[in-house]
């Protein structure tokens, strides 16, 4: 079990895994919206409708991979830390976004092969999904850049030893 957790934490890579995987949905779903809008403005035609479809699929696959890695990172945060709550909001928003894009994909299944303009319902879902995604991703970014979650996690033991050698007053592990 521990080896699986270590894989999900990205120990083997020296880099947390969740932030790597989330690049894909974070790029694909706003890009799907851009491609939708281009098709709406009649630029690119069916190529754009298809591209948007592929982007949503690729994003969904990667987001499913990112879920376990993200959950492992989140369970590593102490419950009394402010980042824990942010992580919870981040998680809840991500569930909503993923569900919206899954529905979005379902609506496209029938006519993405021939349509040259995206229909209104999937376009609306793309707009809504992207907006929530950006909010959620901002929270994820704040966990790293404001609260330092996953930062220097790989070298934590090493730094602890150094601090202990210096007689620092460390909290228990």
């Amino acid at each position: 079990m521990k080896w699986l957790l270590n894989i999900l934490k990205g120990k083997w890579l020296g880099h947390p895994l969740h932030p790597i995987l989330v690049h894909v949905p974070m790029a694909m779903w706003p890009a799907a919206l851009i491609f939708d809008l281009l098709s709406k403005w009649q630029i690119g035609g069916n190529a754009m409708v298809r591209l948007s479809f592929y982007a949503i699929v690729f994003g969904l696959i990667a987001s499913l991979l990112a879920v376990p890695a993200g959950l492992v990172d989140w369970t590593g945060i102490k419950k009394e830390k402010p980042a824990w709550k942010i992580g919870l909001y981040h998680l809840a928003l991500n569930v909503v976004v993923t569900a919206l894009f899954a529905i979005n994909l379902g609506l496209r299944l029938q006519d993405f092969r021939d349509a040259s303009i995206v229909a209104t319902a999937p376009l609306t879902l793309s707009i809504l999904g992207t907006a929530i995604l950006i909010a959620s991703a901002y929270l994820g970014g704040r966990m790293t850049y404001h609260y330092g979650i996953s930062v220097a996690r790989m070298s934590k033991d090493e730094w602890r030893e150094i601090a202990q050698a210096g007689g620092a007053n460390l909290p228990p592990e």
């Binding site: 890579l13 020296g14 880099h15 947390p16 932030p19 790597i20 989330v22 690049h23 894909v24 949905p25 974070m26 790029a27 694909m28 706003p30 890009a31 851009i34 491609f35 690119g44 069916n46 190529a47 754009m48 298809r50 591209l51 592929y54 982007a55 690729f58 994003g59 991703a137 901002y138 970014g141 704040r142 790293t144 850049y145 404001h146 330092g148 996953s150 930062v151 220097a152 996690r153 790989m154 070298s155 090493e158 730094w159 030893e161 150094i162 601090a163 050698a165 210096g166 007689g167 620092a168 007053n169």
Partner: protein, 276 residues
């Protein structure tokens, strides 16, 4: 002995010039989140998507528009890469010149430059055959090289954040960080309690910090209420021995800093070296 700073110190946040405000904006300080890592999702995702669509065009040549789709994904990815380069360069200029992250950042930048060139050529090569059912070998190889460069560069970018802490907590600072480390040597090697004059401390303004290395010992000097306060940094290597930690001081500007001496004479800025 005299460590002159190679670059002009930055003004505090409250007295920023227009160019410094633009720099703050590109570093994402108003957003309280760095901008470069937000934008890099797009080139990484889109260039990867483009490569996958290339592979799909080989597997399913009967599916229409794949080669064209790949071209559009790549085009948008490259545009976003160029957009992301701007805040990326600004972030780069903010790394202290002797920071271990500097070398990683240079490698990251060189790889990014290479991948922009590779994808630029790739777009040019494939632009003439957008209606092909299958991607041809030349652009496919270029995409393969591009994805390799992208992965390596993305990994280094992640190391910058998750290992070296670049841009982490940066928006919380109200004062600029030291641009480089002033390297000084003690007049009597190995001696205790030797005075080492630090001339650059004279130019410090209120709440500004200076990073000094005196015979392989690193310390930070900060000016608070017109007094120069030196702090011992946490040691760069495990081999450095610490003095017993004193009570934590609210003025310490980074976790792990320990005050070694409480004050220094105001008019002659010197730092007393007190470690064993």
């Amino acid at each position: 002995m005299n460590g002159a700073r190679s670059r002009k110190p930055e003004a505090p946040i409250s007295h920023r010039s227009k160019i410094e405000k633009l720099k703050d904006f590109l570093e994402g300080k108003p957003l309280r989140h760095p901008i470069h890592p937000m934008l890099v999702h797009f080139p990484i995702g889109l260039l990867l998507l483009s490569f996958l669509i290339d592979l799909a065009s080989l597997a399913f040549p009967s599916v229409p528009n794949l080669v064209r789709d790949s071209f559009y994904a790549m085009l948008l990815g490259l545009i976003m890469a160029l957009v992301a380069a701007v805040p990326g360069l600004v972030d780069y200029t903010d790394i202290r010149s002797d920071h271990p992250g500097k070398r990683t950042a240079i490698a990251h930048m060189i790889l990014n430059f290479m991948l922009v060139v590779v994808y630029g050529i790739n777009l040019g090569v494939r632009s003439s055959s957008l209606l092909d059912p299958k991607i041809s070998m030349g652009p496919l190889i270029l995409s393969f090289i591009g994805v390799g460069l992208l992965s390596a560069s993305g990994y280094l970018g992640g190391r910058l954040v998750y290992d070296q802490g670049i841009a982490v907590g940066r928006h919380k600072r109200h004062m600029p960080t030291p641009r480089d480390t002033i390297d000084l040597t003690t007049p009597i090697p190995g001696a205790e309690g030797v005075f080492v004059p630090i001339m650059a401390a004279q130019q410090l303004r209120e709440r500004e910090t200076l990073r000094v290395e005196i015979s392989a010992q690193i310390m930070t000097i900060v000016k608070i209420d017109n007094q120069l306060l030196p702090f011992r940094n946490s040691a760069p290597t495990a081999s450095v021995r610490f003095p017993k930690a004193a009570s934590t001081d609210s003025t310490s500007n980074a976790r792990g800093t320990t005050p070694v001496s409480t004050s220094a004479p105001e008019k002659s800025p010197t730092a007393r070296q007190k470690w064993t």
